[in-house]
Structure formats: C-alpha cells, structure tokens
C-alpha cells in the first residue's frame, strides 16, 4: 500500500477513533444517564451480546432492500427506455418521477401495511422500490440521451437500424449513468427500508429491533442495532460504488 492510500484510509479512521474517545470521555466524565446517551463501550458490549440477532435482522432488512432495489431499478430502467423513445411517454413519466422524488414515500408505510397485511414484507419492499425509482429513472434517461454526435453520425453512415443503434451505442453509453443512479438510490433504499419498519408490521428487521429495544429502555442495545444499520448501509453503498467504478473503468473513465 502506498503512503498516499494509507493516508487516505488513516485520516477518517483517526477522526472516528478520536470522536469515539471524546464520546466515551464525555459520557463517563459528565455522568450521562444511559437512556440519554450510552457510552461506546456499553454499545459494543451489547453488540457482542446480540450479534446473531443483529445479523439476522440485517439479513431481513437487507433482503427487503435488495428486492426493492432490483424491482425499482428494473421498472425505472424500462420506464427510462420508453421515455427515451417516445416524447409522449417522457411528458408522462418525467413529472411522475419528479413527484415521486419529493414525496415522503415512507409515510405510505402504514397505509401499505394495511393494504398488504402486517405479516408481509411486501409493504417495505414496495416502499424501497418507489424510493429507488426516481434516481435510477432520471439518471438512466439522461444517459440514454447522451449519445455523442460523432457516434450518431457514424451509425447513420453505417445505415444501422434503430434497434442496432440502441444495442451498440445507446445502452452501453447509458450504463455509467445507470450505475450512478443506482449508487445514489442504494443509500436512500437502506434508509427507506429501515424507517418503513418503524410503522409496525413484521418485527424481524433492524428498524423494528431499534424501536422495540428503545421502547424496552434497552438503549445500548438500540444503538447496537443502529450500528448494524450503519454497516448495512455501508455494504450497499460500497457494493454499488464498486459496480459504478467497474463500469466507468471499462468505459475508459
């Protein structure tokens, strides 16, 4: 590892350690009550006790995120392809995407719980899909429209059919945009999946565990699940970031 990359990794780690030390010193020194703010060591203690539980809760929530992300992204990509091809579809879909992106989708969770039943994971997955739709749609559509003039001329010179143009130029050119959209969507998808669990329904995910631990006054345990939520968000972010980078590199970026 080079000195530069060590420094790049070390700086945030050092900052984190210092922040944790200050947190610990503050809680212990000022005698803060655990229900106000538990100390990092107390949280880690709890985390070690409930690791299997955090793991299974993270898996349950992670599954909701994954399914919602895939469904939302597929629908968004198809919609973007339709919008790129037809002006009318564009005038219908683009405002819809804009409306969806400003709507607080998680607020729909209680209504969806009633609709699909409280023992179903469907409402959460629907919430995630809807949240994912807008960023993936907007970015993919931009990518599909980004065909370079020289490529357009070239394909016209080759008398390529519209289908050939789509396959050889439009779709490969839109991929980096799609993956950027997916990366942006992934973090909001995790947040949406967790917050959707706050509104009742199945008690198997991170969000449910956080609320139930908090309502049982097990504050350090609630924080342990929050830590799990942070790690889950990080996993999705890094995975989509890696995908985005891989595609960008293939494109010579």
């Amino acid at each position: 590892m080079t000195a530069a990359s060590v420094r790049r990794w070390a700086a945030p780690v050092v900052l984190g350690v210092v922040a944790l030390a200050i947190w610990q010193a503050f809680v212990v020194g000022a005698g803060i009550k655990p229900y106000l703010l538990p100390s990092p060591t107390a949280i880690v203690e709890q985390l070690l006790l409930v690791v299997p539980l955090v793991w299974s809760a993270a898996l349950a929530t992670g599954m909701n995120v994954l399914v919602g992300l895939v469904v939302g992204a597929v629908v968004a990509i198809l919609a973007a392809i339709v919008a790129a091809r037809s002006r009318m579809a564009d005038t219908l879909l683009s405002p819809t995407a804009a409306a969806l992106s400003v709507m607080p989708i998680v607020a729909l969770a209680p209504a969806l719980n009633t609709m699909f039943g409280t023992t179903s994971t469907t409402p959460r997955r629907v919430v995630v899909s809807v949240v994912v739709f807008a960023p993936v749609f907007v970015n993919t559509l931009r990518g599909l429209r980004q065909v370079q003039p020289v490529h357009r001329d070239l394909l016209k010179a080759y008398a390529a059919t519209p289908r050939q143009i789509t396959r050889t130029v439009t779709i490969p050119g839109a991929l980096p945009y799609l993956f950027t959209g997916l990366r942006i969507a992934s973090s909001t998808a995790v947040i949406a999946a967790i917050v959707a669990e706050y509104f009742g329904g199945l008690q198997n995910g991170l969000g449910s565990r956080i609320t139930s631990a908090a309502s049982n006054s097990a504050y350090a345990r609630a924080w342990a699940f929050v830590l799990g939520a942070i790690l889950l968000g990080l996993v999705f972010y890094l995975a989509t970031l890696a995908l985005e980078r891989a595609v960008a590199r293939r494109q010579g970026g």
Partner: protein
C-alpha cells in the same frame, strides 16, 4: 463512373437569426480512385459538403450523386467509409471490436470479421493493440483505428473530415504517409477535408479551395506530384511550388468576396 458528382449543390441552414448559406453553387466531380482535398478557412462549408456526400445532411438545392446513385442509396449500399476529426471509437469496445463494428452491423460472420479486423490492424500497424481499449491508446493510434474501421468494408469511396486535425505534426506526417500507401493499396477515391495546405498537397491529386459566406469553390488546383509520395517529397521543390499555388489560391481570393452576403 465518377465517385462523386455535384451540380449546383447548395445548402441553407434555417436559423433563428435568418437563413445561413453554408454552400452555394458547388460543382465538383471526383473520379473513381481520385484523391481530392477540400481546403478553406473555417465556415467555408467544406465539412458540410462532406456531410452532404455522406448523406448525413441533405442539400437544399442542386443535384448530388455518389456512384450514380442518390447519396441516400449510396449510404444504404455502404459505398463509402467515413472517418471524422474525432476518432469516435466506442470506448466500451476493444480495438478489434471497434474495427469489426461496421461488419457486425451488416451481418458478416464472426470468423470473417476476425480475419478482416486482423488484416486491417496490421495495415495500420496496430496488431499488438487488438485487445486494448481506446482509452489505452494515444490520439494518433485511435485515429488509425478509426481509419482501419472506415476501410473495413473495402469502400470505393473514403470520406475523411480532418481526421488528423487533432494530432501533433510528427504523428500527422506519419499518418499522411500511411494514408497515401493505404489508398494506393485499396484504390478507393477519397474526399479529404483539411485546413492544412501541406497536408492537402501531399495527399491529393487535386486540391479544391473553398471560400466562406456563402461556401463556394474558389479554385481547383491540380497537384502533379505523381503516385510515389514518400517522405523526401516533403522537401522537394515541386512540393513547395504546389504548396505556394494552393496558398495563393487561398489568400488571393478577392477581398470583395465578403460583400457577397449583401446580395
């Protein structure tokens, strides 16, 4: 049959601030196998003329035929190969896959594509880079790939729009020498747009000098330097004489030509 025949060709672009006469009264014949350069200052319509021949734009007046067909028929029949100032390679395809692109689009089988691409890459001296991606190549190499691609279907007409415009002088001269060799081997007619006088002279059998506003042909200079054009030609007196002739034709345009748009 002539490769290109233009009779009174004009092109008017409608814009918000009025019509722009990009080309007016263009008469030009390019014989089969002939190398013709179009030269002139920016805005003289040389690229527009090339795009009309390629059927990437349509003329607003006059008559234009490519091998006796309309430009559209010629384009659909793949009678020409084309290269632009930007190499325009698809960044997600390897060098080989880029050269194979036109063949692939026209349903040529895999094995034949591979053979042809290998042939073309050795023609432009890039065999070693077959598996590379465009961003791993220098600008000159990318442009060579683009030229290989334009030759993929053995066109009888090559349209080139300042293909060496973005290259440094040394690479440029090497590419010119290669192009002369490649064209001699393929026997294709070439319409070559450039704004470099020595380049036009070195490559062409005829240099078409154009002037702007509206784009017109102001002179056609024959270059009789023979078919053998090696590096030593660049220092030959006959080469300089031809360069001078083209330069005078370019700059000797009466200044009153400006007044033409007052018509």
């Amino acid at each position: 049959m002539n490769a290109v025949e233009a009779r009174g060709v004009g092109k008017v672009f409608a814009s918000r601030s009025g019509d722009v006469h990009a080309l007016e009264g263009i008469d030009l014949t390019v014989a089969a196998g002939e190398f013709v350069s179009l030269i002139g200052p920016s805005g003289c319509g040389k690229s527009t003329l090339l795009r009309l021949i390629a059927d990437l734009d349509t003329p607003t007046s006059g008559e234009l035929t490519v091998f006796g067909k309309t430009p559209q028929q010629a384009r659909e029949a793949q009678d020409y190969g084309i290269a632009f100032q930007q190499a325009g390679l698809l960044p997600w395809r390897t060098v080989t896959a880029n050269v194979e692109l036109p063949l692939e689009l026209h349903g040529i089988g895999k094995a034949e594509r591979a053979t042809r691409a290998a042939e073309l890459l050795s023609l432009v001296g890039l065999d070693e880079f077959a598996g590379h991606f465009p961003h791993q190549l220098s600008g000159g190499m990318q442009q060579r790939v683009a030229i290989a691609r334009s030759l993929a279907e053995r066109p009888s007409l090559l349209l080139m729009d300042e293909p060496f415009g973005a290259l440094d002088e040394m690479t440029r001269e090497r590419m010119q020498t290669e192009l002369v060799r490649i064209c001699a081997e393929s026997g294709a007619a070439v319409v070559f747009v450039t704004h470099s006088i020595p380049e036009a002279v070195f490559l062409s059998q005829r240099v078409v000098v154009m002037s702007p506003r509206p784009g017109r042909i102001s002179a056609v200079i024959p270059v009789n330097l023979g078919d053998e054009r090696g590096e030593d030609l660049r220092e030959d007196a006959s080469f300089f004489a031809a360069v001078t002739a083209v330069r005078e034709a370019l700059h000797g345009t009466p200044v009153t030509a400006r007044g033409v748009d007052l018509r």
